[in-house]
Amino acid sequence: MTAVATLSPRPARPLGYLLAAAFLALVVVAAVCAPLVTPFEPDAVDFAASLAPVSPEHLLGADQSGRDLFTRILYGARTSLVGPLLLLAIASALGVALGTLAAWHRGWVDAVVSRVTDVMYAFPGLLFVVLIVAVFGNGMTTAVIALGLAYAPTIAKYTRSVALAECGKPYIDSYRVQGMGGLAICVRHLVPNMARSIVGYLVVLFGEGLMSLATLSFLGFGAQPPSSDWGLMVKEGQPAIVQGAFLPVLVPGAAIALVVVSFNVIGVRLADRMGVRGT
C-alpha cells in the first residue's frame, strides 16, 4: 500500500538453466565428435573459399585462408574448454591445499598464505599472468599454468573461509579426540565435506577462466597458430573486419560469449542452491 516498488525475489529460472546445460552438453559432444560432424579439417586452407559467406557447404562461412569456421569452432572448443579445465585443476589443487592448511594450522601458516595472497591481489586483472608470460615466453602451457597460479589465491581464500566454518563443527573435534592425525582428518574428512561448495565455486570460476584464457590468446600470449582456439580465432579474424567480413570474428566471439553465459547461468543457480557466495 505504501508506494514502495517491491523487488520480487529473483524467480528461479529452470528454463534458462536447462537451456544452458543443454547447450553446453551439445558443445562438448560436438567438440568430441568433431570429425563426424564436419567434413573439413580445421587447418585445411582453401583460398577459393576465402571469406566465404554462410552457405550449405560452409555453415558459418570461412576465414581469410578459406578455413571452414564451423569446423574450426568445433575443434577449437577442445582447446577452449580443456584449457580452463586444466587451469582450474592447477588452481584448485594449490588453492584447496593452501586454504585448508591455513584454516587448519592458523597462526603463521595462515599469515604467510594471506600475505602471499595479498601480493598477488596487488596485481590488477591479468597483470600477474602477463608478468609470468613475459618471463617464461608465450604459449598455451605457460598461459594455463600462469592462470592456474593466479586463480589459486582466490580459491585458497574461499576454501579457507569454508574450512574455518567446517573446522568449528563438532565432528572434526571428535576425530581429533580419537587421536587421528591432522593430515588424515583434512584429507579424509575435511576436504570431502567441503567438496560440494568448492565445486559450486569452481563452476562460477570456469566462465571467468575461459574468458581470461581467451583474452591471453587474443593478445598473442596463449594459443599460437595454427591452433583454432577461440580467442586466437578472433585475433586472426580481426583484419577481415575492414574488408566487411564479420564472420571470422563474430563466430568465435559468439561462441565464447554463449559458453560463458551458460556457465554463469548454471553457476548462479548452483550458488543459490548450495549457498556458495558468488564472485
Binding site: 523487488l7 601480493v119 596485481f123 587474443f218 593478445l219 563474430l250 566471439g253
Partner: protein, 304 residues
Amino acid sequence: MIRKLAGVLATLLVTSFVIFGASYAAPGDPVTFLAGGKENLTPEYLAAVRAQYHLDDPFLVQFGRWLGDAVTGDLGRSTQYNDQVGDLLAARLPSTLGLVAYAAVLFVVFGIALGVLAAVRGGRTDAAVVAGTTFATSVPPFVVATVLISLFGVRLGWFPVMGGGSLWHLTLPAVTLALGALAIISRVTRQAMVEQRELDHVTVARASGLAERLIVVRHVFRGALGPIVTMCGLVTAGMLAGTVTVETAFGLSGIGSLLVNAINTHDFPVTQAVLLLMVTAYILVTTLVELVQPLIDPRARRST
C-alpha cells in the same frame, strides 16, 4: 594512518621486488633475457647490458639500484625502440589516461543510473537490468571490441575504426572498457540500495511524510553511496590493466598496447616499467578509495 601508509609502502616494495625478481626466474642467463633474446648478441652489447643492470653486484644491491632509478624516473632503456623507457611511457600515457577517464565517466554515470533504476522501478526493469548485466559480464572485452568495430565502425561507419587522438576515436574503446565495469557498478548500486531500503530509518523518513523521490535521494541512495564509491574506485583502479586488451583490439597506441608489444618482442625493461606503473597506480588508487571512506560515512571517522 601511519600503519596504513607503512602497509602500502610494504606492498609496493614487495610487488616491485616480484616484478624485478621475475627476470631471474627466467630460464637461462639473465643477461640474454634482459638483452631481449639470443640473436645478434655481441660481447660488447652483453657487457653494456651487464653494466646497465649492474648484474655483477649482489642481487639485493641490484634491486636497490633498480628501484632507486625507477623512483627517480630512470626506467632504463628499451631493447626494442632503443629509447629511454621513461620517454616511451610519457609519450603514451596521456592517451591511455584519456581512455580510462572517458570510460570511467561512462561507467559511473550509466552504471549508477541503471542500478538506481533497477532498484527503484523493480519488476521488469529490474529483471532486464539483471539479465543485461549478467550478459555484459560474460562477454570478454576483446569480443565486445570486435563486435563494436564490425557494427559501428564498418557496417554503419559511425566511428573511425583505427587510430586515435580525438574523443570520437576513443568512444568505441571507452565503451568497450566501460561495459564490464558498468555491469558491476549497476549491480552493486542496485544491491546496496535494496539493502538500504530495508533499514528502519528509511521507514521513519517515510512515516514523516517525506516524498518517495526524496526518500530515495536523501536516504536510500545516500546510504548506498559508501559501497558504490568504493566499487567505482576499485574498478577504475583496475581499468589501467584493462587497457591492455582494449588498446590492442582497437590498435590504439597507449601503455596497454606498449606492454603487449614489449612482451611479444621480449623487451623486458619496458615490460617491467609498464607493470610497475600499472601496479603502483592500482595500489595507490585503492588506498585513496579507503582514505575517502570517512568522508562518506561519518562512522568510519572515529577509528582513524
